[in-house]
Each structure stands twice: as C-alpha cells, then as structure tokens.
C-alpha cells in the first residue's frame, strides 16, 4: 500500500546476505536458530548474530529433506532439512552454529540430522514437558545456563549482565512495536495489512536487531500518519483469525486463498506470528531470569495438555479473537504436526460459537481446490451471518 518504510525493510533484507558475508569476514559468527523457546537475547548479547532459519511452502525441498527423515514428520521439518541438505539458502549456507530447542520433538530430530549428515555445529536447548511446575522451571533454568555456557565457549566471550540488559531492551522494543503494528493492521482503513505485518516479522528475523527496531519505529510513525478515519457504510467483511501450526515464510497457499476469496486476516496466535512477541517479561538480566520469562509465556501446543481452564494458549486465543474483532477462526494444521492437529477438537470446543474451520494441509498444491471450497464456504457463512445480523 505504498508505505516507504516497507520498501526500506525489503531493501534491507535484499542486501542482508551480502552484509552477513562481510561481517563474517570480519570475524563475526552467525547462529541460526529454531524455534519457540530459543532466547535470542542471549545470542545477541554475546556478540553473535542470530538468524531464525526455516521456510515453508516448497514441495520440492520437502522431498529433498525426506531422503533423510521419515515422511511421518511434518512438512516444515522435512523442508528445513531439505534446505540444510541443499545449502543454497543465502542464510543457511552462512551459519556457523545452529541452535535448536526441543519444544517440539520433531525439531529436536532435525538437530540430530543436520549435525550428523550435514556437519553443522549444533546446540540443543532442552524444554521441560511440565513447564508449570517448580521442577520444570528448575530444569529449564539449568538448560538455559548450560546453553549460555556453550555459546560463551563458541563466542569466546563471557556473558556480561550489561550486554544482556542492552539486548533485552532492544528485544522489548521490538516486541512492543510488533504488538502496535498488529493493532494497527486490524483497524478499518489500515494502511497496512496482516500480510504486510507478517512480512515485516519474517524480515526481522534476518536483519540486524538494532537496525530492525529503528525501522519498526519508523514504520509505526508512517502508519500513524497514514491511518485515515474509517468511512461509514463499510462493506461487509469476513474477518479471519489464523491459528494452529506455524506458517513460515514461503508458505502462502492458505493466505493467498483466504485473500482471493475476499476474507481479511486480522490476527493470529501462531508462533510464527504474534504469539512469539507476547507476554515475555524478563525481570532480571541473567540466564535464570531469561529462562523464567520464556517459560512463563503462552505455551506452545507441542507441550502437554493442560487443564482446559488454565491453559494459557487457549485463554490467549480467546482474548486475541476479541481484541482483533474476528468473525471466525481458520485453524491450520500441517500433516503430521500432531501437536496442533490433536488440539484442534479441543480448541473448537473451547471456542464454542465462534465459527471454526480446520484446514489440514501440506506443502503441495494438490489440495488447492479442496481448501478453496472450504474457505469459500467459510467466508460465505460468515458474510451471510453478518448480513442477517445487519438486517435485524
């Protein structure tokens, strides 16, 4: 929609691989990471360059990955493995170390494989299954401490509290900015869409974090200037909320379909989306402080079932649906992503009367038409309901 800062972010992203090449020549080291529970702040504070890796939506790369892993693993994991096998991705080929957490056991497997087959140096961060207990917290504290030690050895420096505090400040700034952008994109007459914000988030995982924070603040200013007053008599919209398995960069199938059929995405609780930036408050600039804060966030679905009334993931989902004024939820699950697939039924039950559509898919185009029909009927269903509500 012609936002100058979005163009700047795209330009920064285009020049980033070359920039990283230069930085590596100057002795800087790059740490690729995945997934929900890797504390980037620590990587950054040690003077290392964190880059989140992993893309989706490419059936060919899934096949390449599948030569090394069973097809009963989710397509995301298979594709990322394919990316490591091919080493053509401009970031993956420049990684000096890969940090992976064991939030989802499938990613843990990925770590073993890239280390074994493709000679990447790796570090694993253990994640407790029972994160609500005292023992869980103690375990995770030790894990983060251990993780920090390994990174210190790799970086050749020790973690300084002041540096960690600096990093925390930058990341806090990023988290706040992303939340602000999310609230803007969901407004009527917003000058940027959910898709734009999603692209901004994905870009951020590759850019220098300080530079990224500056760009985000610039973007917010520009958005504030360009948000116009909503007009009367807006056309009836189907405001869609996305939930479920991650939708990484490159995987645009479902998003394209929703938009083509006149749905408007207004929010999400994906770990590749907004959830990653929510409810993270580091009270003390130490590995323990970081560990506690990460564990107290909204839990990832791959961790065990909680009591329904106290499951923070579901409470957050309900809250976000309201906040973004969504009309219905499209719950996206990847094949063999048991974590989210098994929770679809319970999520639907908890949301009671909120229109709910589950889309079970993978990275191939063969189900394009089938998804299209479902999403189209879902959008019709929502619009129909709103039309009737307007009449009475």
């Amino acid at each position: 929609m012609g936002l100058k800062t979005l163009e700047k972010i795209t330009a920064a992203l285009t020049s980033r691989p070359a920039e990283l090449e230069q930085l590596r020549k100057q002795g800087k080291k790059i740490v690729g990471w995945l997934a929900y529970n890797i504390p980037e702040e620590i990587i950054y504070a040690l003077g290392l360059i964190p880059i989140r890796v992993g893309q989706g939506g490419d059936g060919r790369l899934v096949e390449v990955g599948a030569r090394h892993i069973s097809t009963k693993n989710c397509v995301f994991v298979r594709q990322v493995l394919g990316q490591f096998a091919e080493k053509t991705d401009p970031y993956i080929k420049q990684l000096d170390l890969v940090a992976i957490d064991a939030t989802c056991i499938q990613l843990y497997r990925l770590e073993e494989l890239i280390n074994f087959y493709f000679d990447y140096k790796t570090v694993v961060l253990g994640v407790p299954r029972n994160f609500a207990t005292k023992e869980g917290h103690e375990y995770f504290r030790k894990e983060v401490e251990h993780f920090t030690k390994k990174l210190e050895l790799f970086a050749g420096v020790s973690l300084e509290q002041s540096k960690l505090q600096e990093a925390i400040n930058i990341y806090d700034g990023i988290r706040e900015a992303i939340k602000t952008l999310y609230s803007y994109q969901s407004k009527d007459n917003a000058p940027l869409s959910w898709r734009d914000v999603s692209a901004v988030i994905n870009a951020g995982y590759n850019l220098d974090r300080l530079r990224y924070l500056e760009l985000l603040q610039e973007l917010i200013k520009e958005v504030e200037e360009k948000t116009s007053e909503p007009q009367e008599n807006q056309a009836i919209e189907a405001r869609v909320f996305l939930s479920g398995s991650l939708i990484p960069p490159g995987d645009t199938k479902l998003i394209d379909i929703i938009e083509q059929l006149g749905g408007r995405i207004v929010g999400d609780d994906l770990w590749s989306g907004l959830n990653f930036f929510l409810n993270l408050e580091i009270k003390e600039p130490t590995p323990f402080g970081v560990a506690d804060a990460y564990l107290d966030r909204i839990p990832h679905a791959s961790l065990p079932y909680l009591d329904l009334p106290t499951d923070g993931r579901l409470a957050n989902l309900k809250h976000q649906i309201q906040q973004f004024n969504a009309d219905g939820v499209i719950y996206h699950t990847l094949r063999y992503c048991d974590a989210f697939t098994f929770k679809a039924g319970e999520t639907k039950d908890v949301l009671k009367n909120v229109p709910f559509l589950e889309i079970h898919t993978e990275y191939s185009g063969s189900d394009f038409e089938a998804i299209r029909t479902r999403v189209e009927a879902f959008v019709e269903m929502i619009k129909n309901k709103k039309e009737i509500a307007e009449l009475v």
């Binding site: 039924g345 639907k348 229109p355 709910f356 589950e358 038409e369 089938a370 299209r372 029909t373 479902r374 189209e376 009927a377 019709e380 269903m381 129909n384 309901k385 009737i388």
Partner: protein, 269 residues
C-alpha cells in the same frame, strides 16, 4: 406460462453429473440432469439447456443464474458462483425447513453440514482426501459386481449378514472385495459391509460438527437405499424423505440464491 414473470436458475456441476433447476414464483419450474463430461462449462450448459427445453424457455428469459459445484469456478454463463455447501443448505431449507443437519454425498466428496432455521450454514466438515464414501467409490464397487450403480443399494438390502470390510480406500477395497468374492461370500453380504463401512466413516465426519435433527441426505448417493439405511443405523437418526430427486438439491439451492441475489441487486421488486 407468462413470460413477464421472473425465472431463476441454479446450475450445479459435479464430478459425475451436472444438474440444473429453474424456479419461477418460488416453484420448481423445470430441472435438468446430465452426466458430466471433461469440459465443465459444456456440462453445465447441457444441464441448463435441458431444463430450458423442458420449460420451453430460452436462456435470455432467465433473470439470474447461480453456478455451484466444483464447476462453479469456470461457469461463464452464471451471474455469480456460490459453494455447494451454501447451496445444499439453501436448497434443503427451501424444501424442508425443519432440517438442521445435512449429509451430502456426491461423486467425489462427502460433506456434513449443520444449518439454522433460515438455512444459513453454522458449521461444516468435508471429506475429499479419498474416494471413500463417494459416488466414485460405489461406482467402482458396482463395476466389481457387474451391476448397475442404481441397483447397488437395493442388493445390499437383501443381505442376511454383513461381511466386515476393513478398507475404505477404493484401491484396497476393490481388491479386498475380489478376495471376499473368491472366498465365497455372498455379494449382497459384501455390499452390505461396504455400505456400513462408508456409513461409519461418515459418522466420523460428524464427530466435530455434531448432529441435530431433522437430518437430510442429499447428493447423488442419497438415492442409494442401502446407503441411506446404513447411515441411519450408524448415526442413529431417521432421514427425512426427500420431496425431489436429492441429487438436484445443490442446483435448487443455487436457484433459490439466484432469486435473492437478483432481488438484492434490484433486478426486480
């Protein structure tokens, strides 16, 4: 027949058949049903022309046309396209306002649809991952027994026993059936097993959507009496008797929608 009255048409192009319904004054005026060919535009037009011929009308006499079914995406003759889910809901509600749950079994997919008193969709689930529970599957089975598709259900009704069928994948079920025949099982008992295994699969579709009576069975497969009985047993419901050929429900819903859209667009008062 007065030509100054408005006529509305719905055209439903499915994978095995194309259907059309023309409405006038809220009454079904004419219908058309033809097998689908490879060209979905042509199939839709054939079905429409058949109804027009029966009605003694020309295409120009139609005020509004709504296309549905998988052929809706390429239906240049239609003013608007609507999914078959919404159309089955509307069509069913038009004829049977007390229905709240629809099972639609077509040529290539199977749907569970929940609707409210106005025929608005509340929830739905769809199975199109495989041919199980579809017209295509039954067509293959009819081929194995060398009987007409239409007779399949009636044959199953004569069963004295139900031979369990473990495969619902068309390819495996076909070979499983052949081996059951070789083992000397009676065709009617095997067919009963096939119908029950499909019905159980359909019951699974309803686990998330739920069932509320009255229940209606639409789509081409709804004409299969064996299937109807097996579903009634699996879902523990009684299916409402259809007033018209249940295969035409999608096209009827499309015609009903054509009427509302044209009114909304101010084409008539």
């Amino acid at each position: 027949m007065s030509l100054n009255k408005n006529f509305f048409a719905g055209v439903d192009v499915g994978s095995l058949a194309a259907k059309s319904v023309i409405l006038q004054d809220g009454e079904i005026f004419a219908t058309g049903l033809v097998p689908s060919g490879v060209n979905s535009v042509e199939s839709g037009l054939n079905a429409l022309n058949l109804a027009l011929e029966t009605a003694g009308l020309k295409k120009e006499d139609l005020t509004y046309i709504v296309g549905t079914g998988y052929g809706r995406v390429s239906a240049p003759y239609a003013n608007k396209a609507v999914t078959e889910i919404t159309c089955h809901a509307k069509g069913t509600n038009y004829l049977h306002p007390t229905v709240r749950t629809i099972i639609d079994m077509g040529g290539q997919d199977c749907k569970a649809i929940r609707i409210d008193k106005d025929g608005a969709v509340i929830d739905f689930a769809m199975n199109d991952k495989c041919a199980a529970g579809t017209g295509r599957f039954l067509e293959v089975m009819a081929g194995v027994f060398k009987v007409r598709l239409e007779d399949l259900g009636a044959i199953a009704l004569a069963a004295t026993d139900t031979v369990p069928m473990s495969s619902t994948c068309t390819v495996f079920a076909e070979s499983e059936t052949i081996s059951l025949v070789a083992r000397g099982e009676k065709p009617e008992n095997i067919l009963s097993g096939i119908h029950h295994s499909i019905a159980n699969r359909i019951a699974g579709l309803f686990s998330r959507v739920g069932i509320e009576s009255d229940v209606f069975f639409s789509g081409g497969v709804a004409k299969n009496i064996g299937m109807k009985n097996a579903i009634e047993e699996a879902l523990k419901v009684t299916i409402v008797k259809p007033e018209i050929d249940p295969q035409l429900i999608g096209a009827l819903g499309a015609a009903v929608l054509a009427r509302s859209f044209s009114k909304k667009e101010g084409l008539w008062a």
